[in-house]
């Protein structure tokens, strides 16, 4: 083989990538994927008090083809497993996954020895980007998860992290 000398390309795409990432992060369109109780908290976040629209994410798309991020909100049962996997595969790149709530992270309260029907975590099916613990997580926690995802995409955080005094 030998060593190859790859000349640097004439057009540098780094700044464009940064701009695209900024655009993607600030307009994450979630797919409506409320399975169980966490869906109620997701709906609350979409309401006016907690307002996910500030982050560009109020457009919940029912179709996976038009969505960027899949917020897995709720328990995944074995009967639903195939449908979720299909929906994830149908989402076009770039796509991200937020696992919201304990059930989506690890099976949550159903992760017991005699578990017979619950898939123990969304990451058994596909890669997850952000985990939001809680049962259910508060709407503020979901917003923090969205901000963490934005930080993952752009490298910068929208608002500084607030530490309790």
């Amino acid at each position: 083989m030998g060593e190859e000398n790859v000349p640097s390309s004439i057009v540098q795409f780094a700044q464009l990538d940064k701009l695209l990432n900024l655009g993607r992060a600030n307009s994450l369109w979630p797919m409506t994927f409320g399975l169980a109780c966490c869906a109620i908290e997701m709906m609350c976040t979409g309401g006016s008090r907690f307002d996910i629209s500030r982050f560009g994410a109020e457009v919940f798309r029912p179709s996976p083809r038009q969505a960027d991020v899949m917020i897995v909100a709720g328990t995944i049962n074995k009967k639903m497993e195939l449908a979720i996997k299909t929906l994830y595969d149908q989402m076009p790149e770039p796509k991200w996954v937020i696992a919201m709530g304990n059930c989506a992270i690890s099976g949550g309260p159903f992760k017991v020895a005699c578990n017979y029907n619950v898939v123990e975590g969304a990451d058994k099916l596909f890669p997850v980007d952000v985990y939001i613990p809680g049962c259910p997580p508060r709407p503020e926690a979901l917003l923090e998860g969205i901000m963490t995802l934005e930080e993952k995409i752009t490298g910068k955080r929208r608002w500084p992290r607030v530490h309790p005094v």
């Binding site: 049962n77 074995k78 009967k79 020895a113 578990n115 017979y116």
Partner: protein, 166 residues
């Protein structure tokens, strides 16, 4: 209303008289019930009448309840492992007018749990019976579509049985 239902149901059980449920929470086991109608304390049990019937009487009871204006709330099951019996429980409720809740129980043999379906009388029974079949394995005769409803269709176990280990 209560008395009307009571009278209508008692026709089905000519051999027994409607009794009052034992009031106290005694340490003794109550004697095993004969099939029949029991008048219960609503504040304590949540239902006004408690009917124990044979599996083959279930459809007749459902027809009487339908005639009296009740609707079917739920069908569920209980696994009595020691007695080797399944108990299928039908909850009937009546709103608008005098409120009356009736619980109907039918005991079946655990190794051969076959109960006639009441979905011919109450269409709501369709999915409830599918759920009872899914989780206990109770087979409902003449059911239009007795397949699993909550577990995956190819599951081969009945999880709510007391001897189920995943």
């Amino acid at each position: 209303m209560l008395n009307r239902t009571l009278v209508a149901l008692t026709e089905l059980f000519p051999e027994s008289v409607p009794a009052l449920a034992p009031a106290g929470e005694g340490a003794l086991e109550p004697p095993p019930r004969e099939t029949g109608v029991l008048v219960t304390d609503f504040a304590k049990h949540g239902h006004h009448l408690d009917v124990l019937c044979r599996p083959d009487q279930v459809v007749a009871v459902a027809r009487i309840m339908d005639g009296e204006g009740y609707f079917l709330e739920a069908i569920s099951g209980v696994d009595w492992l020691d007695q080797q019996q399944f108990e299928v429980i039908y909850d009937y409720n009546r709103l608008g007018g005098e409120h009356c809740r009736v619980m109907v129980r039918a005991l079946v043999d655990r190794n051969q749990p076959v109960v006639p379906s009441v979905s011919g009388v109450f269409a709501a029974a369709d999915w409830h019976e599918r759920e009872t079949f899914d989780f206990y394995g109770v087979h409902f005769q003449d059911h239009p579509n007795l397949i699993r409803i909550l577990l995956p269709e190819d599951a081969d176990f009945h999880p709510l049985r007391k001897d189920f280990r995943p």
